[in-house]
């Protein structure tokens, strides 16, 4: 009888997260799947809430135990089912027994979440809460995913925001053919930042058709023989139309906030890393491409969500890289 009953009775598990009002939510898409809308937590934030287990009236549920876990893990797409958990926290709600009525369990996980959620080309990093009712034959499981974003702490923020930081400045060229000098105002940009810069043409002997600035994400996942490196263009931003002549100077102004970016990740759990590059590409009339890549660091600023402030008393839409003398 009891055996039969255990087959037929399924409890409904609902996970309710606290403090959802006003919380930032983001829509992600995993490997081209359907978009999922998820709440965003910061790494040092407690994840709390309640779990409702509803037992249909008049039924009873036998179980080996009820527990809740908060798991953080990395998954390589090419190694299915081989997730590497880096965080696992378990709370026992019930030891083995029988549930005869619905019950609500509060929970709170206060552990530091060291890594950000990430959904890349070959790897993802995700956090979720899992409630498991252990039973003899099949467990009853419910998962709730959430996103984690880590804002820079005061120390790193200070480093990243160092106003005296060197921008990127380079002189590149092909002898007697093309000679340009370009500069980006910084090496480190926060995700709401604006990349400002200039390109000076010192020598132009090729017929340039256009010039663009690409933001490239380079993802390295796995180790050893199973490592995968892949790049993708986040944006190709046209900087110049037509051929300049010697002495011309073309401005760069690229707003990052509209791009789907993450901070730069260096060796996350020794499984993957994500780096960003600015790629300046010149294309000539024969569709030959001349390019130069420069790594930039993206970081997440603590006050990311606050209104865009005036910078230097000016709307940032009007900001320019500072003029400088160039020897032409």
């Amino acid at each position: 009888m009891s055996l039969f009953a255990s087959f037929t009775t399924n409890p409904t598990i609902t996970i309710n997260l606290n403090n959802q009002e006003g919380r930032l939510r983001k829509t992600i898409r995993v490997q081209g799947g359907d978009p999922i809308d998820l709440p965003v937590y910061s790494g040092n934030e407690n994840v709390s809430g309640t779990v409702d287990i509803s037992v249909p009236p008049g039924k009873k549920i036998e179980h080996q135990g009820v527990r809740i876990e908060m798991i953080g893990q990395t998954e390589l797409y090419f190694e299915r089912g081989n997730a590497a958990k880096f965080t696992t926290l378990v709370r026992e709600f019930e030891s083995a027994g029988t549930m005869t009525q619905s019950k609500t369990y509060p929970f709170e996980f206060s552990t530091e979440k060291p890594y950000e959620s990430y959904s890349g080309m070959n790897v993802r990093l995700r956090y979720f809460i899992r409630v498991t009712i252990t039973r003899n034959y099949s467990n009853c499981v419910k998962e709730q995913e959430f996103l984690v974003q880590n804002y820079a702490n005061a120390a790193t923020q200070a480093v990243n925001q160092d106003t005296a930081q060197q921008g990127i400045k380079m002189e590149v060229g092909i002898e007697d053919c093309l000679h340009i000098e370009f500069e980006f105002d910084k090496q480190r940009y926060h995700l709401q930042d604006v990349i400002l810069g200039k390109i000076y043409f010192l020598l132009v002997r090729i017929k340039i058709k256009f010039m663009e600035l690409a933001v490239i994400r380079r993802e390295a996942a796995g180790v050893g023989p199973n490592s995968y490196n892949e790049s993708e263009n986040i944006v190709k931003f046209e900087l110049m139309d037509g051929a300049p002549i010697k002495g011309e100077c073309v401005p760069i102004r690229l707003f990052l906030s509209h791009l789907d970016l993450t901070p730069t990740y260096r060796s996350v759990n020794n499984v993957f890393s994500v780096k960003y590059y600015l790629n300046l590409v010149l294309v000539d009339e024969e569709d030959r491409r001349y390019f130069k890549q420069q790594e930039v660091v993206f970081w997440r600023r603590a006050d990311e969500q606050s209104a865009v402030p005036l910078e230097g008393g000016q709307h940032r839409g009007l900001r320019m890289a500072p003029d400088r003398m160039v020897n032409v």
Partner: protein
């Protein structure tokens, strides 16, 4: 090619139509994001590189129409409180640069209106970002759009954006920068593509030039622009760019633009800089047209305002320096071009400095020096007539003609003028000479000095004589010239020229009769050298001038006499003339003889008669006799045509009846001669008429004592008045005439009757009433015998005569005398 263009354009239009439709729908539902997306898609069409400038312009205009609606939509958003800051940022996310920058300009305009940021900052941002389009044509159109967007949004004086938004300097530097960049793009267009397409590219550039010029127009429209600002901040920058671009088309167009766009007083204030720029332009730039344009502009300014050139602006000097520099530096400039420059300067001097002779003279001197430096003179003497030579000749002609209308005779005082004329080939010289003469004549400016006359003749030499007469050209040329001369001598052109020359004697006017005579002598020498063809035209007026001079000299002599008698003269004291009346008559005599001997006996004869009358009026009876005698000699030798003989004899009779101071012997000798000639006429009718007429000479009407004669005082008054009457010989003549008429033509009887009646009425003692009665019955008989010979006119004449007689018979004072005439 053309078909493809149409296709491309149609496709583009289709996209624009579609996208603008969706854009407007999105605007209607207030969906900014969607509207922006469609606007972007629409503007994406402007990225095309397939269209020619003209078609790209079509597309651009179409899209601008649609974009204007989008801008209005933004304005509504802005008015309802929407921040433009955010939209300005958002449009910058568009990855394609051309649509991005169009949208940026569009939003930027509304952003300025919103005053959320200072206008100058936004403008500065736009002008900086727009550098991203380096493609010449797309860049030019984009920059044009920027000028459109910023049109009423510059922080100009009096604009709502002035103040925090900046000041007029910001507006100026914005427009200047856009101008500079637009010009660079435009110039760059020249250097793209294959060399063989150069012509097409230049045409395309011409199509696009307005996109550059618009910036200068905007600059000139700034309220806050004054001379100082123009001089200090605009012109130097514009000039710097013009010189730096080193492009012929751009330099030509932009210099022209400056002249047309900015006001006159700015040009006056900055003439020096402008002209210095002109000297530094590219070699191929036609600086002359630029200078001419500027000169015209200034000249028209002064003409319109009625002002004079301000003394502090040495405009002429500046232009002259400029031209001098140009000529010095551009060593490969052709002579004709340098002459054109001098012509332009001459015209400028004439228009802006009326009365400044030395300026004109300066130009002419410079021009003549320029010619002297080249081999033009020797080449044209050698008969070189290639196109360039012709052009140069034409230019000298133009240069010489320009000062004529305003200066006319005063050019005589300019030695360079005649010098330049002498450089012209004969026929062109002739053209200028005609023009010169025409203007002198039309202004009726008198020639009152001998040197003036000499100069004038030096200048119009080709009108006065043939070429070979003037220059000692080689003998084989003579034949040609002779041919040319003979064929030209009866051409309308030749006649017209000579009619012009013939008017010169009438221009010789001076208070002093001696001067006039000297001028006449110079003129006569010149005319004499012209050969017989010309003399026919030129001598008669000269002789008439001499005749009227004779009258003046005579009056002067009379006044001297009166003065000597102690009378007060109304016009102050008079000095005795150096040349007496007699001298004048002597010259006349010589001249007329020359006229007669060079193939013009008939005019000479008539002029002799005129002279005779004039001499008679001055009481020089001997001279008068000589003149008539000369005329008679000419009649005898030269007048052979019977009809002309009749005319001539009439003239003789008229002249002699008008002469009052011949001695009786002279008179008798002359009239006898005339009666004889009359009698010798071939046609009976003529004979009859003329003999009847000469009967008058034997019984002349009573001479009025002093009427028709000059009032004479002093010695010449003692010349006795001619009193002559020989009624018998007059009757003889009448009878002879009647006799001839009887054999010739009975119609003449009626005329005879008239003449008999005349003599009867003035009491010619030998004319008896029975002669008249007899003649009437003779007429009646003849007419009755053969009516067919009677002309209707004669019949009417006869009736009138008869009714005249009846009329006399009824008048009491004549009734008694006429009563016996019955028929």
């Amino acid at each position: 090619m053309e078909e493809e263009q149409v296709k491309y354009l149609e496709e583009a239009f289709k996209v624009v139509k579609n996208q603008s439709f969706h854009m407007k729908r999105a605007m209607d539902t207030d969906n900014l994001k969607l509207a922006l997306d469609h606007a972007t898609e629409m503007l994406r069409e402007l990225r095309t590189g397939l269209l020619t400038p003209k078609n790209y312009y079509e597309l651009y205009m179409k899209i601008m129409d649609e974009l204007r609606e989008f801008e209005e939509y933004l304005q509504t958003l802005q008015r309802s409180g929407r921040s433009m800051v955010e939209i300005y940022e958002r449009v910058q996310c568009c990855a394609a640069i051309v649509p991005r920058l169009y949208l940026l300009c569009c939003v930027g305009g509304v952003y300025i209106t919103s005053k959320e940021a200072p206008a100058k900052d936004i403008l500065k941002d736009l002008i900086e970002m727009i550098k991203g389009v380096q493609h010449p044509m797309r860049g030019l159109f984009l920059r044009h759009y920027l000028t459109q967007v910023s049109k009423n949004r510059l922080p100009d004086v009096g604009s709502p954006y002035e103040g925090i938004g900046g000041n007029v300097h910001d507006a100026i530097s914005f427009l200047l920068q856009n101008f500079t960049e637009a010009n660079r793009l435009w110039v760059r267009l020249q250097h793209q593509g294959a060399a063989k397409d150069r012509k097409r590219r230049e045409k395309e550039r011409m199509d696009l030039r307005i996109l550059v010029g618009t910036n200068l127009v905007r600059l000139s429209q700034l309220e806050g622009l004054d001379l100082a600002e123009y001089k200090n901040s605009i012109l130097p920058k514009v000039v710097e760019e013009i010189l730096a671009c080193k492009d012929t088309i751009a330099q030509s167009y932009l210099m022209e633009c400056i002249i047309q766009v900015f006001p006159d007083d700015f040009h006056l204030g900055t003439l020096e800089v402008f002209l210095q720029t002109c000297t530094s332009l590219k070699e191929k730039v036609n600086v002359r047209t630029i200078l001419e344009l500027m000169m015209d502009r200034l000249a028209n300014h002064f003409a319109a305002t009625g002002q004079n050139m301000p003394a502090e602006i040495p405009a002429f000097k500046l232009f002259n320096d400029c031209i001098t520099t140009l000529i010095e530096e551009r060593t490969n400039m052709s002579l004709v071009e340098t002459l054109r420059l001098q012509t332009a300067l001459t015209n400028f001097a004439l228009k802006c400095y009326p009365g400044k002779m030395d300026y004109v003279n300066h130009c002419l001197t410079a021009a003549s020096a320029l010619i002297a430096k080249t081999d033009f003179a020797t080449a044209s003497a050698a008969g070189g007539d290639d196109a360039r030579q012709d052009e140069t000749t034409q230019q000298i002609e133009t240069l010489l003609s320009s000062p004529l209308s305003s200066l006319s005779l005063r050019v005589l005082d300019m030695p360079s003028y005649s010098k330049l004329m002498s450089y012209l080939p004969w026929s062109n010289w002739k053209q200028v000479a005609s023009a010169l003469l025409r203007s002198v004549i039309s202004l009726n400016s008198p020639l009152s000095e001998v040197t003036q006359v000499e100069q004038l003749f030096a200048m119009i030499t080709p009108l006065v004589r043939d070429q070979n007469a003037a220059s000692s050209s080689s003998s084989n040329n003579d034949e040609d010239n002779a041919k040319v001369a003979s064929s030209a001598s009866d051409s309308p052109a030749f006649k017209e020229e000579q009619h012009l020359v013939a008017r010169i004697p009438h221009l010789l006017r001076a208070d002093d009769t001696d001067t006039v005579l000297e001028m006449l002598i110079v003129t006569r020498t010149q005319f004499t050298s012209g050969g017989s063809q010309r003399i026919g035209y030129t001598y008669p007026p000269l002789m008439f001038a001499a005749l009227s001079l004779a009258k003046r000299v005579f009056q002067r002599e009379q006044q001297v006499v009166l003065q000597a008698e102690g009378q007060e003269l109304p016009n102050g004291p008079v000095t005795p003339p150096r040349f007496s009346t007699k001298k004048v008559f002597h010259i006349l005599m010589d001249g007329l003889n020359h006229l007669a001997t060079t193939g013009h006996p008939e005019p000479a004869m008539r002029l002799f008669l005129q002279a005779a009358q004039a001499a008679d009026q001055s009481r020089f009876s001997a001279i008068a006799y000589e003149f008539v005698k000369e005329a008679l000699l000419l009649y005898e030798c030269e007048v052979t045509d019977s009809r002309q003989q009749v005319v001539a004899l009439h003239a003789f009779v008229g002249t002699l009846l008008n002469m009052h101071y011949l001695t009786v012997e002279d008179y008798e000798a002359l009239i006898t001669k005339i009666a004889q000639y009359s009698n010798k006429l071939l046609k009976k009718a003529d004979q009859s008429k003329l003999v009847a007429l000469s009967s008058l000479l034997f019984f002349p009407p009573a001479r009025p004592s002093a009427a028709n004669t000059l009032e004479v005082v002093g010695a010449p008054a003692q010349v006795p008045l001619l009193a002559y009457s020989d009624p018998d010989r007059s009757l003889e003549c009448m009878q002879r005439a009647l006799k001839v008429a009887r054999n010739a033509n009975p119609n003449l009887f009626v005329e005879m009757l008239d003449r008999y009646l005349y003599y009867f009425e003035i009491d010619n003692p030998v004319i008896q009433v029975q002669y008249i009665v007899g003649l009437i019955s003779l007429i009646n008989e003849t007419f009755a015998a053969d009516r067919s010979v009677v002309l209707p006119a004669t019949e009417a004449h006869y009736r009138n005569t008869l009714s005249y007689i009846r009329g006399r018979q009824q008048q009491p004072e004549f009734a008694e005398k006429f009563a016996p005439i019955q028929w």
